[in-house]
Amino acid sequence: MGWAIALHGGAGDIPLSLPPERRLPREAALHHCLQIGVAALQSQKHPLDVVELVVRELENFPHFNAGKGSVLTSIGTVEMEAAIMDGKTMKCGAVSGLTTVVNAISLARLVMEKTPHIYLAFEGAEAFAREQGVETLDTSHFVTPENVERLKRAKEANRVQIDYTQPIQEDVKADEKGKEDGDSQIG
């Protein structure tokens, strides 16, 4: 038995031809976050602290769909969500519908540790964040030009997209017209 750590930055239809300018920053971020997690485990930090630390780093990286860089709703807003769970105690905390909280994962942990509940959402979660004094920023902080463009393309095609979805082709858009779901359910 030894320590181990794994992390992800999202899944989806990632093309084999993903350009280096999109691939390399994400790989570098994964490497950076992995090293932070490894160092934390080597210094005997509890895994709960380790996963929160690593996810905070991932949230702060704008190329991943969480925190700064979160994708946009149909009206161009962000609604972020997060969850954390301890295996031994099975204590857990979760939040959703956040619009201003910089690190949703830390608010989820506060729900776990500071409330009798496991899940707070939308206005209640935002109010709890202010009560706890966690860092908040104007919602514009989370919106990136890339995600504004992704929303524009998705709305043009009338579909939703998971973390990674190849650009919508004109002929595909035409083919989807009239279909109730298109491929919206699989991105």
Partner: protein, 130 residues
């Protein structure tokens, strides 16, 4: 979506997941991430963080299913996670990272790719997409 799972030398396990959801999602929609047992779950056997199409992950209770298959079928983490990802959720919908209390690591997915990384105490390190 981003996520992390970890286990220490004493077998303590934890998981965390965070996301912005879908592009063009309806206002008020929540996905699998904050639904404990769907995209995020840990017990004394394993810790799991999932990513992909939230609705499919909720319907498949993906993270909890990995733990349940380990507990009730007695499978290893790798086999339990592979079973859930390959047999319990439609293709193109899910990926996950998981660690077990004994230090196993697995990162299966049934999408085209998943940005992922892992490391273990014995010196193994991996960073991958496909």
């Amino acid at each position: 979506t981003v996520g992390c799972v970890a286990v220490d030398n004493h077998g303590n396990l934890a998981t965390a997941t965070s996301t912005g959801g879908f592009v063009n999602k309806m206002v008020g929609r929540i996905g699998d991430t904050p639904v404990i047992g769907a995209g995020t779950y840990a017990n004394n056997l394993c810790a799991v963080s999932a990513t992909g199409k939230g609705e499919a992950i909720i319907c498949g209770t993906v993270a909890r299913d990995v733990a349940a298959v380990m507990e009730y079928k007695g499978l290893s983490l790798e086999k339990a996670a592979a079973y859930v990802v390959n047999e319990r959720v439609p293709r193109g919908n899910v990926g996950l990272v998981a660690v077990s209390a004994t230090g196993e690591v697995t990162m299966p997915f049934n999408t085209t790719g998943m940005f992922r990384a892992c490391a273990t105490e014995d010196g193994f390190t991996e960073i991958g997409i496909y």
